[in-house]
Symmetry: C2
Subunit: 452 residues, 2 copies
Amino acid sequence: MEPITYEQLIEMLQGTSALPRARAALSEMNVVDIANLFEELESKDQVLLVFRLLSKDLSADVFAYLDPDHQQTIIESISDREISAIVSELFIDDAVDLLEELPANVVRRVLRNTDEQTRRIINEFLKYPEQSAGSIMTIEYVDLREQYTVADAIKRIRRTGVDKETIYTCYVTDATRKLLGVVALRKLLTVDEDTLIGDVMDENVQFVHTLDDQEAVTRLMREYDLLSMPVVDNEDRLVGIITIDDAVDVIDEEATEDFEKMAAMMPSEDEYLKTSVWQMARNRIPWLLFLMVSATLSGLVIARFEHAIQAVVMLAMYIPMLTDTGGNCGAQSSTLVIRGMALGEIEAKNVFSILWKEVRVSLMVGLILAVCNFARVMLFDRSGAMVALTVSMSLIVIVFASKVIGCMLPLLAKKLRVDPAIMASPLITTIVDVLALVVYFNIAVWLLGIPA
Amino acid sequence: MEPITYEQLIEMLQGTSALPRARAALSEMNVVDIANLFEELESKDQVLLVFRLLSKDLSADVFAYLDPDHQQTIIESISDREISAIVSELFIDDAVDLLEELPANVVRRVLRNTDEQTRRIINEFLKYPEQSAGSIMTIEYVDLREQYTVADAIKRIRRTGVDKETIYTCYVTDATRKLLGVVALRKLLTVDEDTLIGDVMDENVQFVHTLDDQEAVTRLMREYDLLSMPVVDNEDRLVGIITIDDAVDVIDEEATEDFEKMAAMMPSEDEYLKTSVWQMARNRIPWLLFLMVSATLSGLVIARFEHAIQAVVMLAMYIPMLTDTGGNCGAQSSTLVIRGMALGEIEAKNVFSILWKEVRVSLMVGLILAVCNFARVMLFDRSGAMVALTVSMSLIVIVFASKVIGCMLPLLAKKLRVDPAIMASPLITTIVDVLALVVYFNIAVWLLGIPA
């Protein structure tokens, strides 16, 4: 049976006669496609109607993929027993995500309808700080013992696998839940059935602690090509795993967060189209205000050199070009360093090789820009050779200084335990502006012989 | 046995007596950790010595994780037979990656030492355009037939699984290699052994074509939480798969590429520390030059209003603040739209809801900035109320215009099939600069009654 489109679904919802057909079509579809259909439904009644068309098993799976608004609509409209059924079907990490998005009164209702043990685990997981490994892990992993044979292990996987988030990587623990090793299902299928798990497991396990930053998780998973990452508590006991699909979401989130910070915004967790106008304004205003007030400094520099502008009004003409070029040069260097640090390619110990590289690059770039600029001013402007020389000499100094500042500030931020991403284009631009103007006017005063 | 550190390894390499110990230690280590050790080795002799310490199986695995320089060092120093052994052990995608990085004469030597069939496949794969699905796929997947029983399938996986890049997702094809369905190993382990593959496979398969962009691959894998993605040719025949670990690398690469473009650089595939100074300068100069020349326009606007500056020199003071704020506002909007499009959250059809959102956000932001600015100028500057009003009114118009331009240009770029990422901060800044100056000086001439 073909997957149905939104239009077909809506048509089927009109009368009651087509509902069995809709139910049958939905039951054959991929859960992600069904969740996408929900995104397009506009009325709450339609959301509920379609949700009720899903079989019990399917409904929990689809529920995990719905966006928070639809989840809330459903939770608010179904019976306590239905809530309980859904929550018990959800993986713990999805249940925790759900509860983090719901209003407090709905959370209370959900927890009231959850069995004792799940409630205890959920409550514990809700306490992990945002963006920590603990906050994104789940408990549905396969755990094995050293003394199992491979045949035992496969039997266990066959029996319990349906409820696990992944069965492809299994973790070996002792009686105290201490993590001893890891063994891939692939290995289990290709060795003799009588082999002991203790003999085939790999003891070189990569793991993280519950409080480690989620970025550390993704970095290790990427480096070691892992499908899941074990999370241990302070006593090295295995408490959960993070699967690659969740890690991929974190990778995207972290990159988006950096993009936002680097464009002078407070990071937002919501998609663009789902963020309210007011929330957007609130994310954007703080940095704009701060940068606007900081730009007062460049105004002061200009005020200080008012007489120079009065003497040679032409000088004002080159202000935007010089400050923009400085800003762009600084942005180039800072972006490369920030991104390199985010991917773990650059560390604090590389500071001197970075500095040395930027010094050479900036001299090369500055010289080429200066020559091109000199030619352009001489050919097209009526400013004369001395002004052209002033602008070109300033360019060399500005390019040099902004590249050095651009590469050093993110490293400094890291050292001070501030997120390097804020040391990006907007802040660098503001700093470089002041510097560019000071350099430019001083060179002008000196070269053009403007009296102080 | 504990993994050894770089220092321990170097010590062991000094004499010959410790080499067996080094070999034993290496044989217990994770291939990624071994590859990391190589990164720190400085002399070619050490690289070769350590490589020779690895067992044959391990050496091909480690080789796949080495950086291109080390790979080249090794290829150039080993015998034809050893090359042949390594290439036949590599997965096709790793072999293709290797050959793409090597100089032509070394490539010829490698291909000469590869068996006929592998050579044919590699040559075909090398023809796929960069960044296409075909260029990152591999052929080592498990393929099953509809008429197999689950028991047959598991037997087949046990027999051939060692050489597959993943066994966790198996693909069902017919005699003409046409892709019919997909079945997860998890499913195979939890259903009855006599079931036919045709009855358990999922026919709703997500797939891509060889020429599809690699970004489309990662978008689908993320959306459907897939561990591997099948790639088909023009006749819908299965030709390869892309595994999640390679998709994760693509996700990072694509984000890095966007970061670089958004900071006015040509994208580079190499890590910061591994890119030469000359290459870096070449990546940075073109945009800087273009933007520098474009900034001439803002110079022309200033030249046009020379008389206004001559009349009220104070006006020059606010130029950097106004152009920076415009640039920052434009960067905020364009970044959100560019990132939203990269993640597939925003599409061309959303143009009106984006525009409407930005219009409201920009009015809110502009008003707040204008009020704060008015207060600041009145309190701290000696410019007077009319100049304060001029600057604040300009702010409102500039914030509005730059946000609208910032959100529209990336959408326009997409429409024109240009990469939206270039419509980021640097280009927007340059465009907004001109606009900001025109707005500012016109308001000034009008409000301050400066004769034209």
